[in-house]
């Protein structure tokens, strides 16, 4: 394990308040839309009202002549542009690559989901643009559509793409079919579970937006947009627009939530670029919430059957998974990669010798699906953790006992899974036992009886999840000592509200013996930073944190060298504290501003880069208790306990925020959030009046603590924590719901989201069953 800084006052582990909060909470945040000058033109995307149709634009005259309109762009006007492509096509079992289904910037003659883009109207005001969009004359020829993932491959279902023989986007296989079949053949028992992982809409507070300026002198663009990393977006924009990357400066300032969904390049960005160049004016576009529901990539949406082979002692022998993953109407940027990432975590925290996992990606006439907080890992944890509970049931032991028997044991590390991942460390049984103690697992029966007296069923459930973070790679950090003695730290990740400004600063400041508020973290500008990997997969702190430490440490060494030179003493004799360089044991010192005046540029500018070879593997136990009100079917989470292993905690306060937020999203998925399309693939849950997000009063108090086992893959021992909350929560909540039903009726399977209606219906059918 790496050295943890001795300067814990500001370093790793300090519960420092967020430096960005004063700015953000006093209305001084600068979000993308804040960058638009008053005279910017407004773009509006005319979107398809049909889920599937052929169309022709018959007349644009009225729209073009409408007041304030400066341009109306159609597919024909974008000949120099390329489609948005999927960068993660998966090899099929026969070795072939699947056909791409790229997203046209504007549809030419057919639309494939409600909200598919048809035309871009640019006007002096957004109202004029919208008014004019209604004057575009179109002929639609509606075609049959399909929205349901489970039915997409059925015979006779309309193809999403005319002329296609089926809605199969691709097939992918991971594992060892022969070994798995052999294990099932000799299994004493087999547990099976069928699950739907419901489709979600990622509702960040700040909808996407962009503001594009074009400089005629050098045919260059400045693109402000809400992203999770400017460099990746710049490169995609260059590919799509056929404009050299060095002619596109992408800037992201404050971002109000991203959750993976803001990683991607969406149509409106190249559209604004085209319009800005055509008109020589700044062009802005801002999504509204309704548009957001139709255009921004959706999350989850899997239909899974999973089976576990066990021996007579309940020891797992093999797992087999059949996964249907919705892709939506096109293959989105990371679309096929998301289920794959989940598949790579199929076996979870358990020692399962072999696996066979078949994924079928399917097209439906729905908004494309891509990364949403956890990106495949919540889906995978959901499958294995629900299946393990089913195994306990089948085998006739408790849910903790089946886990104990099958956990990878501490002495087995490093442990390579059948999917090829190598876990470095982990103490699964220990955090499970601790969490059970904290949750008073053994006292449950009393709470159950108490709940019964109030007309409720009560259930308790756990998940002992593991996930993969950070992944191989690096995120270099660049530091500079400024003339005033403060520091700038530049890094190519992108805070979306997580608190990067605080976290990186506190790591680097500890090395420099200075106040963390004097380390100014800068992100989000391709002009000031040459490269960057962006934020996603909980990589910012494991990779960027380690690089920040290295950059800070090198700068600290340089400062000691400069001070030693000036004060004519050995650099080892210099200590950095309270923002100055002091001679150990003496009175002489130099302020950091004085150091900045004395150092050479090479000494004052440092770079740190930590290269990581493998992913890190955060893990933990979540325990949830639910009440189900018999009269109404309302399910409430009444108690929630978390013991996580994040390796090393950077800032307990930031960490707690990440976990709380993630668990709330998980509870939301379990009990409330649900994207519903009707049979014509029209979006029914189209606004927040019908799409239910969890609110504070839907959520109980959380008990959260860490039981950290430092990673030996990561320099600082950090494992990553940005997604863990969503990953651990769904199976814990749903195992609790299932437990409540099992105790009462002997049957417990119900899918997410457990709405009052779906639970009431379930209770009725279980009662009917009991009557028979």
């Amino acid at each position: 394990m790496a050295q943890v800084s001795p300067h814990t006052r500001f370093g790793l582990g300090a519960a420092l308040t967020r430096t960005e909060d004063f700015r953000l909470l006093t209305g001084q945040g600068r979000y993308t839309d804040d960058n638009a000058p008053d005279n910017a033109l407004h773009g509006f995307v005319l979107r398809s009202p049909y889920a599937h149709a052929r169309f022709k634009i018959t007349d644009l005259t009225a729209a073009k002549d409408a007041p304030g309109v400066r341009a109306v762009l159609c597919a024909d006007d974008l000949d120099s542009m390329n489609d948005l492509t999927c960068s993660t096509l998966m090899k099929q079992p026969d070795g072939s690559m699947p056909a791409p289904r790229d997203i046209p910037i504007l549809c030419r003659d057919s639309v494939h989901h409600v909200g598919d883009a048809i035309a871009f109207v640019v006007a002096e005001s957004i109202y004029q643009a919208r008014d004019a969009s209604e004057l575009i004359e179109l002929d639609f020829e509606p075609l049959a559509a399909v929205a349901d993932t489970a039915q997409a491959l059925d015979d006779g279902v309309a193809p999403v793409f005319e002329g296609a023989t089926s809605n199969l986007a691709y097939t992918h296989f991971e594992g060892d079919k022969a070994a798995t079949d052999a294990a099932f053949a000799q299994a004493a028992k087999v547990a099976e579970i069928k699950l739907v992982n419901n489709r979600l809409i990622c509702n960040y507070m700040e909808p996407r937006a962009c503001v594009v300026q074009w400089q005629p002198d050098d045919d260059a663009f400045t693109v402000h947009l809400a992203s999770q990393g400017v460099h990746g977006l710049r490169d995609t924009l260059a590919k799509v627009t056929n404009i050299a990357a060095d002619k596109i400066r992408v800037i992201t300032e404050d971002v109000g939530g991203g959750f993976g969904t803001k990683v991607f390049c969406y149509r409106e960005y190249p559209l604004c670029m085209a319009a800005a160049r055509l008109l020589g004016r700044t062009v802005r576009w801002t999504s509204d919430r309704s548009e957001h529901f139709l255009q921004d990539a959706h999350g989850r949406d899997n239909v899974t059957t999973a089976r576990m082979a066990m021996d007579k002692d309940g020891k797992f022998l093999a797992i087999e998974v059949d996964l249907i993953a919705a892709m939506g109407a096109y293959l989105h940027a990371f679309g096929p990669f998301i289920p794959y990432l989940g598949v790579s975590m199929t076996t979870g925290a358990y020692d399962i010798p072999t696996m066979a996992v078949t994924t079928r990606g399917v097209f439906t006439n729905t908004t494309p699906v891509d990364a949403y907080r956890g990106a495949g890992r919540p889906e995978a944890a959901y499958v294995i953790e629900r299946l393990v509970d089913q195994c306990a049931l089948q085998h006739g032991c408790s849910v903790d006992e089946i886990r104990r028997r099958n956990f990878i044991q501490p002495e087995q590390f490093p442990y390579t899974t059948p999917a090829g991942r190598t876990y470095d460390v982990g103490e699964f049984e220990q955090h499970m036992s601790l969490c059970m103690e904290r949750a008073d697992w053994s006292g449950f029966s009393q709470r159950l009886s108490a709940a019964k007296r109030t007309g409720c069923l009560r259930g308790i459930g756990m998940s002992t999840y593991i996930e993969a973070c950070a992944f191989s790679g690096s995120e270099p950090a660049f530091m500079q000592l400024q003339a005033d003695g403060s520091c700038v730290l530049k890094i190519g990740t992108q805070s979306n509200g997580q608190g990067h400004e605080t976290a990186y600063a506190q790591i680097a400041a500890a090395e420099l013996g200075m106040d963390y508020e004097d380390v100014h973290v800068q992100q989000g500008d391709t002009a000031t930073l040459p490269t960057g990997g962006g934020t996603g997969g909980s990589r910012s702190l494991p990779l960027g944190g380690a690089s920040s430490l290295r950059a800070g440490r090198t700068l600290a060494n340089n400062i000691r060298t400069i001070a030693g030179r000036e004060l004519q003493t050995d650099p080892d004799n210099i200590v950095l504290e309270e923002g100055s360089a002091k001679v150990r044991g003496g009175n002489e010192f130099l302020s950091l501003a004085e150091i900045a005046a004395l150092g050479t540029p090479a000494e004052l500018n440092t770079q740190g880069e930590f290269q990581q070879a493998e992913a890190t593997y955060p893990n933990g136990t979540h325990i949830c208790e639910v009440d189900i009100e018999l009269a109404t079917g309302v399910t409430r989470v009444v108690s929630y306990t978390i013991v996580d292993d994040f390796g090393v905690t950077v800032n307990p306060m930031l960490l707690q925020g990440q976990i709380h937020g993630g668990v709330v999203q998980g509870i939301g998925q379990c009990l409330m959030e649900h994207v519903v399309y009707n049979d014509d693939a029209q979006l029914l849950s189209a606004t927040l009046m019908d799409y239910a997000l969890p609110r504070a009063d839907d959520i109980p108090h959380f008990h959260f603590e860490t039981r950290n086992v430092p990673s030996i893959t990561n320099e600082l021992g950090i494992k990553g924590a940005g997604e863990a909350g969503t990953i651990g929560s769904c199976p814990a909540v749903m195992n609790a719901v299932s437990d409540a039903l099992l105790r009462e009726f002997g049957h417990g399977q119900i899918d997410m989201p457990v709405t009052p209606l779906s639970m009431w219906q379930k209770l009725n059918s279980l009662r009917d069953r009991a009557d028979v």
Binding site: Y127, W760, Q761
Partner: protein
């Protein structure tokens, strides 16, 4: 939002005058229903007549055996009114259950009942309490005021000025809130007065209705037990993402029992 003209009217007469001049003009009260409809381009009025400048249009007063609430009184105003809290606490509680603080601080009693959303809360209170709606043209019993889904007896140039709520002996409102919008999936207002017991249901059908079978049962014995095994026909029940017809019919019974239990303690 389409283009429209904005006029801040000075008096009720002034508003009526504008409405007679311009058939496409609409009144703007709290805007909590009207403005979202405009933003989504579901309505295209020529003119908005903003009522907020009219004096004394949001007062609450005692009027004999009734509490009179002027039409522009906000939900928060009703919820926070000491008069309402003392004389009809169930009405104050109902107002406090509407939407969220923003909606309660803008939305108004007049706007809510003029809109006659099938999932709105107030209609249940008006009908159960046998309230009277006072408009620029008539004084009408609440039961006759609500006609159907988003439909009242109001004519195009008619303005609600106040609602008069007789004080009940005891009353309670139980609401099963839509988990997303927090409108009533089903809301049941139970009120008992010298004239008898009234049970009004909102959210379940196109418009608020009295559940007479429950009224009769409660009149003979005011106890949740008297109604808990009653059932309602599902034919006219609303259906949406959040509740099927049979679930709604079931929830009416559950909510009615809950309201009665709140009264009987």
């Amino acid at each position: 939002m389409y283009d429209f003209q904005y006029t801040k009217v000075q008096s009720i007469d002034d508003a009526v005058h504008h409405m007679q001049q311009d058939e496409e003009a609409v009144l703007l009260a709290g805007g909590m229903t009207l403005l979202p409809a405009l933003k989504q381009r579901l309505a295209q009025p020529t003119q908005l007549l903003d009522l907020s400048g009219i004096e004394n249009f949001s007062s609450i007063s005692v009027d004999g055996d009734a509490i009179r609430i002027a039409a522009l009184t906000t939900h928060a105003g009703v919820a926070g009114s000491p008069l309402v809290q003392v004389h009809i606490p169930a009405l104050a509680a109902l107002a406090n259950s509407i939407g969220d603080p923003q909606v309660r601080n803008r939305g108004t009693l007049g706007g809510s009942i003029a809109n006659a959303d099938p999932a709105a809360d107030y209609p249940a209170a008006l009908v159960a309490l046998d309230a009277t709606v006072i408009t620029t043209k008539q004084t009408i019993a609440a039961e006759d005021f609500f006609v159907d889904l988003f439909e009242t007896v109001l004519e195009s140039d008619e303005i609600i000025t106040a609602v008069s709520f007789p004080k009940p002996r005891r009353a309670a409102y139980a609401k099963f809130a839509n988990p997303a919008s927090r409108y009533a999936v089903v809301g049941v207002f139970v009120a008992e007065s010298d004239a008898g017991c009234r049970v009004a249901v909102t959210g379940a059908q196109g418009s608020v209705f009295r559940w007479q079978e429950a009224e009769a049962a409660l009149s003979s014995e005011f106890d949740a037990k008297s109604i808990e095994s009653l059932t309602l026909p599902t034919d006219d029940m609303n259906e949406d993402l959040h509740a099927t017809a049979d679930y709604r019919a079931h929830l009416v019974v559950v909510m009615a029992c809950q309201a009665v239990r709140e009264i009987t303690g």
